[in-house]
Amino acid sequence: MDLIITLMLVFGLVFFLGGSLGIIRFPDFYSRLHPAGKLDTGGLVITMTAFAVYTVQPLTMASVITSIKILLIIFFVFITSPTAIHSIVDAGVRAGLEPWEKKGGTGT
């Protein structure tokens, strides 16, 4: 069981690393939101699931309640994270930020 949890944590950490790196590496505001929105949510879901599984192991009432609370956090972030990203994008569009486009590419 510990092995599975460790593997999940490593997997989630890779996602977090990707998200953080992507926020630095991508060229413009709109494309930066892709790692920020997806990889952070994915990493959070995976790591928190690992924690929930770890917490539930001595199967008592208190640990089950705690684990359910962790699942509630996952659920909450899962609903609200895309919404937050969407609102930031909306603010960007309304402020008139131009999306970065590839020079000489196919374009829009």
Binding site: H34, K38, L39, K69, L72, V93, T106, G107
Partner: protein, 179 residues
Amino acid sequence: MNRFDKDSSKSAKRNRRLDPGAFVLTLCITSVFWLFFSGRFDLFHLLLGAVSCMMVSVVTHRLLFPKGVRARLGLTWFRVAGYMPWLFKQILQANLHVLYLTFHPSMMRLINPKTIEFKSRLTSDVARTTLANSITLTPGTITVYSDVLGVFVVHCIDDRSGQDLPGEMEERIGRVFDE
């Protein structure tokens, strides 16, 4: 003060009326959440919970169910549960795809951001919101804008990612919300 300066409050009055079905359902949902939060089942805490849930339900049942409760609401939850595994698979794919792009040394050559536009046939608020959030979570796409008529503007990170929109996702959500 003429009429121009006063807000008409007809809708406010209408919204303050208690809707029994929505109220009871909200009370049930909030009570379940209270039990999860609290984790104490003695009489005193249960009483506190009952009072709190009652207050919250009175205030917010209009927010959860603005159009009242429809008969087939129970089925929708099960269908949402059926939609989730597919969504998780898509999200995993999306994450791996963006991960690949992020770690690729010549990332700037691979990506090609652009916006595409499509019209969705979904009509209800919840269905459209689910679609928009699902788009934001799945491969290389973010919902930029969605308007009343069902036009979605989507920002894609590269050529491949935005191709099959709306496609299967819209179909599945349509089935979930019965449209």
